[in-house]
């Protein structure tokens, strides 16, 4: 079902007279999914909006050369992930702070964010996530939020599946402890 939709989109984009329809379908199909994936990494809505725009600009630039070796959705996920990470690195440089400081900065911002209405426990989860080392945090978010398979996370981050599983379990334990303690 999903594969059919993906093929349909790719076919539409190939021909110049249907390209607009193809773009529209791609946006409709994936924008929300990609937005939430990005939002959970960058936390702020305006930042997520900026990153999402960059992602689609890159996607439309590259999609004509998309060979279909992997699923379209995984390809999009990978671009969104890379774009988000690049964005965070840039933001850290701009604020002249390191990864850990950036994460806690983002969570602090969240408390005053009108587009965050999470309750105490949801905010605590974000705070707990901010305490994790960068890689552990990324892996936990991918697995827990986006339900990406360990195998796919390993491929995306160029790690072994065992390392990804171990990192996820360590991260989950740390979060559990943080929430209990809080």
């Amino acid at each position: 079902m999903i594969a059919e939709k993906e093929n349909e989109i790719l076919e539409l984009i190939k021909a110049s007279q249907t390209i607009e329809a193809g773009y529209r379908m791609l946006l409709q199909e994936f924008q929300e999914q990609l937005y939430w994936q990005i939002r959970k990494l960058v936390l702020d809505h305006d930042d997520a909006h900026d990153v999402l725009q960059n992602v689609f600009v890159k996607v439309f630039k590259g999609i004509k050369n998309f060979k279909g070796d992997s699923k379209l959705s995984s390809w999009l996920y990978r671009i969104a992930y890379n774009e988000s990470m690049t964005f965070l690195t840039k933001k850290g440089k701009q604020l002249q702070i390191d990864d850990t400081q950036l994460q806690s900065h983002l969570v602090n911002q969240l408390e005053a964010d009108v587009y965050f209405t999470g309750d105490e426990i949801q905010l605590t989860l974000q705070k707990a996530l901010a305490t994790l080392p960068k890689r552990q945090g990324e892996i936990f978010k991918m697995r827990y939020y986006d339900e990406v398979k360990f195998k796919d996370i390993a491929k995306l981050l160029d790690l072994s599946e065992g390392a990804v599983k171990a990192s996820y379990h360590i991260a989950a334990k740390k979060i559990e402890q943080y929430i209990k303690r809080d």
Binding site: Q31, W36, K93, Q122
Partner: protein, 168 residues
């Protein structure tokens, strides 16, 4: 404000009303525009403009170099310099020969401390006061007059933006 749960475990994150509908439209417009217009701006420069620009600018530097070579015979300049250098080299070797070799390990801790204290004293308030005692520039400056808050705010805002651009 919309709460979108389709792809979102309930984490408390929200998006503005109609965000996705508007995003789709604006993104599509932008992409179609890019597709039709490309990134060409239409601005052109004359053929070989940058090459000729280089040529226009380069002679300024080259002519100076050439004139120096023309005017002076290098021997006239070089020989006295070499002579002075030789004399200096002899004097320096004689001096260092007397005092022995100097390295970091041979420094006394107390000497190091003294040096650091001296250096630090340059930055304390009283030293600065003494150094600038006869300088009335600061006295003649007025910080409170003539700058209104809006101007100051605009100035600082610009500085921040500039800083952001530089560090990006």
């Amino acid at each position: 404000m919309n709460k979108e749960n389709k792809h979102n475990k309930d984490l408390g994150f929200q998006v503005p009303q109609d965000f996705f509908k508007n995003f789709e439209e604006s993104m599509l417009t932008q992409l179609i525009l890019d597709e039709k217009l490309g990134k060409e701006t239409g601005f052109q420069v004359p053929d070989d403009y940058f090459e000729s620009l280089e040529k226009q600018l380069l002679p300024v530097r080259e002519s100076k170099v050439v004139s120096l070579n023309d005017r002076f015979d290098y021997k006239n300049v070089l020989y006295p310099i070499l002579a002075i250098a030789a004399v200096l080299a002899i004097i320096m070797t004689m001096n260092t020969g007397n005092s022995g070799s100097l390295d970091f390990a041979s420094l006394e801790t107390s000497e190091l401390e003294e040096y650091l204290v001296d250096e630090a004293s340059l930055y304390d308030e009283s030293t600065i006061e003494i150094l600038f005692a006869d300088n009335d520039m600061l006295d003649n400056m007025s910080f409170s007059d003539g700058i209104d808050d809006d101007d100051l705010y605009d100035y600082l805002q610009e500085e921040i933006e500039l800083n952001e651009i530089i560090t990006e």
